[in-house]
């Protein structure tokens, strides 16, 4: 941590924070797991369930970064904040580019169902003009 703290601070403030983050992580895991077992993907739809699960993961990750990785105290340091900021922007940009290209998948001529192992109904041959 960038700030030096007294032993009392570690005992009375920091260790309770460790327990708090541990609780958030365990609670988040249980919530995600229970939600999946309750079948939220079937009730809410796949995309909503995915957003829910990833939102819980983001909360858990934020707690780890903020307390365990000392960002609460270190964020004021430009070396860390700029490095972290650039990383997040790069990650979001990269995800947006790749995932965004898939969202735009429905193009003219693109059949909705392209399974190669699905039995296709036989079509009547189109009569050709002579």
């Amino acid at each position: 941590m960038s700030d030096e703290h007294s032993p009392e601070y570690y005992k009375k403030k920091f260790i309770p924070l460790i327990y708090l983050v541990g609780g958030i992580l365990i609670g988040g895991t249980i919530i995600t797991f229970a939600a999946d077992k309750m079948g939220i993907a079937e009730k809410w739809g796949f995309v909503n369930a995915l957003i829910f699960a990833l939102s819980v993961a983001v909360v858990k990750a934020s707690a780890v970064i903020y307390i365990f990785m000392h960002l609460k105290w270190d964020i004021k340091l430009k070396t860390i904040s700029i490095t972290l900021g650039c990383t997040v922007i790069f990650l979001i940009g990269m995800m947006a580019l790749t995932v965004g290209s898939e969202i735009d998948y429905f193009k003219p001529g693109h059949e909705e169902n392209t399974w190669n192992h699905v039995s296709q109904p036989e079509q009547e041959p189109v009569p050709t003009e002579k």
Partner: protein, 382 residues
């Protein structure tokens, strides 16, 4: 020569050099895992219904490993706090706890989870008639409804109960029967058992066998030569084929638990519901493995365990979890180094330097935890 700023903060960055270095390293790690995550999401979102094996992960094991890694993340911070409080014994206690948790994670991953997948097979068939014959043996003559239900749960669960479930659109021969191979019959009709290593169930099954009729048909050079032990000598352009290696004419398969009836126990216990097939006119057999079904080689189109080559899902699963596990292993090695006597000497010589090292290790370890926090929902639950 003295390394500058290893225990003091640089005036321009406000950090000691090791910490600035680890943050830059972690940034590069985010790019690495970010690329793999986005590749996974791209493949997952773009997967056609019925091509993504959603129902094959053991979620309880995944959740257990998540909790283990969370615990290790907390214990490594405690180790660092102990050093800040000049408590060497406390540091060693929490550091050992972290190492133990990390080992448990890897043991679960590498000695249970992965081997269990390498012994779990999907079998698809050459024709609908072949498939019907086998499914009749497993489920009885009225196999269709149960078989479709299983397929729907595994490959396209979200479309269940809709007007036209996708299971009805897929050919029967392409709907896999999954299970463990406990034996085979060779070309002379001799029955062989497989595995049976140390009495551990999943090591008593065939491991990473492979057969793909399409691949064999693709081979231009059909002239396989056999060595003195009767093993095929492959040349370039030949595919590895276990049926050819072992001269297999039929496999003996135990249909898997959790697939053919999720409410019942492992097939080995002999309590699975497909056993009722016998009463419905099926031909499932019973032996020490529980209920087995014999499938002739000529009926099998593809036999593949859940190895990376099995499907896009498993290729990405092993890449992501494998790379993550390598990070866990690297973390263990560094943490063990910190528990050696040499580390005690470093600590006594310069406590600030050693405490900084532990902080850096902790930052790396929390990153490993972070990656798993995202891997768990997307690989195991979604």
């Amino acid at each position: 020569m003295e390394i500058p700023y290893y225990d003091k903060e640089r005036p321009d960055t406000g950090l000691y050099n090791g910490k600035a270095g680890i943050w830059l390293f972690l940034a590069s790690e985010v790019m690495l895992f970010g690329a793999l995550f986005s590749a996974y999401v791209l493949l997952r979102v773009g997967a056609e219904p019925g091509t993504w094996s959603m129902g094959l992960m053991n979620q309880w094991v995944g959740a257990f490993n998540t909790l283990i890694l969370i615990a290790s993340s907390a214990t490594i911070v405690m180790a660092w706090v102990c050093l800040k409080l000049n408590d060497w014994k406390g540091f060693r206690k929490w550091k050992w706890a972290t190492v133990v948790f990390a080992f448990i994670f890897l043991i679960v991953k590498w000695s249970y989870e992965w081997p269990a997948k390498f012994t779990h097979y999907d079998v698809t068939f050459v024709s609908n008639e072949s498939a019907a014959k086998v499914y009749t043996d497993v489920l009885g003559p009225k196999f269709d409804e149960k078989q479709s239900d299983v397929w729907q749960k595994r490959f396209d669960p979200l479309k269940k109960d809709k007007e036209q479930p996708s299971a009805t659109q897929v050919k029967l021969k392409d709907k896999p029967l999954d299970g463990h191979i406990v034996g085979y019959i060779d070309s002379e009709g001799v029955k062989h058992k497989v595995g049976a290593a140390w009495g551990i169930p999943f090591w008593s099954h065939a491991f990473a066998w492979r057969h793909d009729r399409k691949n064999i048909e693709k081979e231009k050079d059909k002239s396989i030569r056999y060595d003195e032990d009767g093993r095929p000598v492959y040349k370039e352009g030949h595919f590895r084929d276990t049926f050819r290696d072992k001269d297999i004419k039929a496999i003996i398969l135990v249909p898997a638990h959790g697939t053919w009836d999720t409410k019942e126990k492992h097939a080995n216990s002999g309590t699975v519901k497909y056993a009722e097939a016998k009463h419905d006119g099926g031909h499932a057999h019973s032996d020490e493995h529980g209920h087995t079904v014999t499938i002739a080689r000529e009926d099998i189109s593809r036999l593949s365990s859940y190895e990376p080559a099995h499907s896009t899902f498993f290729a990405t699963y092993y890449t992501l979890t494998g790379l993550h596990a390598l990070h866990v292993l690297g973390g263990i090695l560094v943490m063990l180094y910190h528990l050696l006597p040499v580390s005690r000497r470093v600590y006594e010589k310069n406590p600030v330097q050693f405490t900084n090292r532990i902080e850096i290790t902790g930052l790396f370890w929390h990153f490993v935890d972070l990656v798993w926090i995202f891997l768990f929902p997307i690989l195991y639950l979604m």
